[in-house]
Symmetry: C2
Subunit: 466 residues, 2 copies
């Protein structure tokens, strides 16, 4: 099956390479042939799987600021050195550390039943074990209308609709509101704790973690727990039957002060314009519940493997290709902001930035936010990627991935190789984010697309600034 799929890709790519014509100005025939060879190599290579297997197995879960994330940085530097990068280094930064700790949550009325929950990032601990009546809200909109101090001592449960599945992940933002801002309304209502229906499109008994939003500079003073979709369904049915609900809760999650984190930087120094940087990457940290395979071991593997394949070419591309393994993304894009600050004076030399951070399924679309001349370059790249099943999307799509946001805000041009995210939110931020969920062929397709497109941009003379 795997072999067959790869052969199919290979056959299509061979035909394409024969048909190459030298009529396009923005990409030379040699460059096209090199890009096609990179794709052919990538789809037969196991390097991406080897990288993500090593990261998830040898390091395991790696919460931003943890000892495990530190081990992951050392792993990243050693990996870069072994793959022929011209330099590999860590750029440190400091950050506040939030620790999940132990949680126990159960239904205590109308009967005793364990619930499957997890604390949301930034939540406060219970001072002692809580057992309180539950006040049910059908959705976040209903909760926003709650009166101040009207629910003192209660536990608020915010239900909602299960996240809608889509290729683009379009349902996430809407479902995410209860996770992001629910606590602010529960807290002003005087509730002792907030329980929310998990953000996620699955029907498994796993809660999805994730950060809450700050209110100005303030994090929640109350415990905030996400419970799985089946658990939320269960509470909804009991509520609809008119049963009095109560929940027993003990959570140790809390902030634990400043710690070190860092970004790992791997460079392939450009042969003609070494000061110009084409930046790709993923984030090295993961939530602690799973082993961070699809979020974002895959992105680290895809971009590192793509650059490593380019490193094996006889000659470096003209521009520098930089792989950044961002630290502490999940807990607030902390590595991304640190990078943008540490490289502020040099961001004008970042000719492009893009991140792989949407799982491990195939890429289906290439979008961009570059200047009109460079848009033609991206158009041509999309044609070269076409045998991989990738279509050209919008040329005015801002944002190259979460960790690119701070750079893009300062004018760095972006592209994005959009992955199929239909199943991503079944796994994302859950214990189920493990290596077995990655299809090696789909991962290889990603690497082929990154290798070809990043090579072509790095070897180009086209300026991309919007």
């Amino acid at each position: 099956m795997q072999q067959l799929k790869r052969l199919t890709f290979g056959a299509v790519l061979s035909i394409v390479s024969v048909q190459l014509m030298a009529t396009q100005a923005v990409i030379t025939n040699d460059q096209k042939q090199t890009a096609t060879q990179l794709m052919q190599t990538a789809i037969k290579s196991d390097l991406g799987m080897e990288i993500v297997t090593s990261l998830t197995t040898e390091i395991g879960p790696r919460l931003g600021g943890s000892e495990a994330e530190e081990r992951a940085r050392d792993w990243g530097v050693k990996l870069g050195e072994s793959l022929g990068f011209d330099n590999a280094r860590i750029e440190e930064f400091t950050m506040p550390f939030w620790d999940r700790g132990h949680l126990h949550i159960s239904l205590s009325s109308p009967y005793q039943q364990e619930l499957y929950g997890t604390a949301l990032g930034g939540a406060a601990p219970t001072k002692e074990k809580i057992n309180a009546d539950v006040v049910y809200f059908r959705d976040i909109h209903a909760l926003t209308e709650v009166k101040d101090n009207s629910l003192t001592g209660k536990i608020v449960f915010v239900d909602g609709d299960k996240m809608v599945k889509s290729q683009t992940g379009a349902g996430y933002g809407q479902a995410n509101q209860r996770r992001r801002i629910g606590w602010q309304h529960a807290q002003r209502s005087g509730a002792s704790a907030l329980v929310v229906r998990s953000v996620g499109s699955d029907s498994h008994r796993f809660p999805h973690s994730g950060m809450m939003s700050k209110d100005g500079e303030n994090w929640a003073d109350i415990p905030v727990i996400a419970i799985s979709n089946p658990d939320a369904d269960h509470l909804r049915r009991l509520h609809n039957l008119g049963k009095p609900l109560a929940i027993s809760l003990h959570s140790e999650s809390k902030w634990k002060g400043e710690v070190s984190s860092g970004n790992v930087i791997l460079d392939l120094i450009g042969s003609e314009k070494p000061e110009e940087i084409v930046l790709i990457g993923g984030h090295l940290d993961s939530w602690d519940l799973g082993t961070g395979a699809v979020d974002d071991g895959a992105g680290v593997a895809i971009t590192t493997a793509a650059a490593a394949l380019i490193a094996k070419l006889p000659k470096r591309p003209k521009r520098t290709i930089r792989v950044v393994m961002f630290g502490a993304e999940e807990v607030g894009l902390l590595g991304a902001f640190a990078y943008a600050k540490q490289h502020e004076a040099n961001l004008h030399n970042h000719v492009l930035a893009t991140e792989s951070d949407f799982g491990a399924q195939t890429i289906w679309q290439l979008v961009s936010n570059v200047n009109p001349q460079a848009t033609l370059l991206v158009d041509e790249i999309a044609k070269i990627l076409s045998p991989l099943g990738i279509v050209r999307g919008g040329s005015d799509v801002v944002g190259g991935g979460p960790d690119i946001i701070p750079m893009a805000a300062k004018g760095v041009p972006t592209i994005r190789l959009n992955q199929n995210g239909r199943d991503y939110f079944d796994l994302h931020h859950t214990p189920d984010d493990t290596l077995d969920k990655i299809d090696p062929d789909e991962l290889a397709q990603n690497i082929a697309a990154y290798a070809a497109s990043i090579y072509l941009i790095a070897d180009s003379d086209v300026d991309l600034k919007p």
Copy 2:
């Protein structure tokens, strides 16, 4: 979608009813028409979903011998009374109670990582928290060769292959060996605890619970923990890398003495031969991790709803139809053995017994173990069920379901309506066994098949004894 599927069933059934012919001796034309009407009613009815929704929501998990199982018995009696059964009662028995208690299991070398595990039924507690080196066995066969007292103080991990998926559930028996007998070899090796790869065909981070086998009259003296397939994969990869594995473990599972349980009996008294009993049922208890929707809330719902539809016919069938909601199945068929003992003197009047206990997916095959004349009756029933997508299977297949074993062993004839079990072992004995996993159309197909076949047997004069 749901409506469409039901209309399709309905259209096929209408054609069949027009084509009915009166040429068969073993089933009259009137009986066929009644059976077909029952199927038509069943596939449009929501009664099965209402029953399993009520049981899983209002009672929740219901471990054999627990207070929740007692609430479930009361629920069962009230349900039977509300559905028009001629009598509804509880037959009590006593049993030893095993309680899962709290478990914490984590990898402590080569680094700290939480593992997703659960105690296996019958396991002993840890006396105190254990932290010990792991000795890896590739499968149960390797463990059976371990020398006595050769692993004192170690934790044994038995890996194995993930359970093979099949429509018949054929992979279960093989995968189950490590769960059943692994402890006997770990214990004689002197190990402090046994950890096994979970029995289950899924790739989720849920362990599958289930009873171990006794060794003669003895249960394990050591803790025995199943971990999820992704966790077992993780340990295997670390082991293959030559990493020294250690596990930290604290488990409270233990036996807690004798308690009460019981079977719920609902009868539709036969109009001509009330002493002759056609017994159908499911088991009322569930494992405590999920809410026992597919195992076996579905079986309780299917058989109760089927009988309840028969109860609405203008006249009772000739023979008595008895629905038994067996207690304490998961923990050793205790309700089944109690029933066979309590009704020992009357088992010769049990003309047929069959149980629904293989999930909630569609029935695809009817098998039997009855005498040759009665085999012709079952052949004819299979033809009537054919529009539901059911084929006739073997006529010498012993066993009508787990709780029928003690009766079948004493000569009670059986049939079995085999369900598609391909996805059953993704859910079975896990926290993921919840209501949302049941497809209402598939459940309704089951009820249609039970209603028609049980009606036809109960209204027949054919003796079924093998």
